[in-house]
Symmetry: C2
Subunit: 96 residues, 2 copies
């Protein structure tokens, strides 16, 4: 599925209530999901990590919808099929 | 772009160094990017928020690559074109 299509799907399901909730509270939900993912990761709950990652992305998409940010465009701007720093694939930057 | 294609692109660019860095340190990078996004959001730096969101997704994808998690499958499992709780579009769950 195209990321832009997923963003549209989340818009159709949730934009009305995301708008009603507001930007700050929606951002806090996103951070709460990051916390839940971190807990599953720390605990090594491998069966749950993928589902928590999906929640993190879904709430990030809700924030992007409220800010009118097209995530697919932002990803392609930042990662145009090469590392944005060394411009190579695979990346040849100094190791960090 | 398909999310699975973006995951493959990040794999091609970064899997080798993500593997060398290891899972814990890669997860910490993801959390650092969440912190940078939160700072840009708090400061109202609207020109930077989209780019910070791209970094959050890219590092989440790196973690998923190391764990062999297919993010597109996880998203479609969790959000099969309707709200996973009330099974409607738009969502009709009690407001939260």
């Amino acid at each position: 599925m195209e990321l832009s299509a997923f963003q549209g799907l989340i818009r159709d399901i949730y934009l009305q209530r995301d708008t009603q909730r507001g930007l700050d509270k929606t951002f806090l939900w996103f951070l709460e999901e990051v916390g839940e993912l971190t807990r599953s990761y720390r605990r090594g709950e491998h069966g749950k990590i993928g589902s928590e990652m999906a929640d993190v992305i879904a709430w990030l998409v809700s924030v992007a919808n409220l800010l009118d940010i097209n995530l697919e465009s932002e990803l392609l701007k930042k990662y145009p099929r090469v590392c944005p720093f060394c411009l190579s694939t695979p990346c040849t930057c100094p190791f960090r």
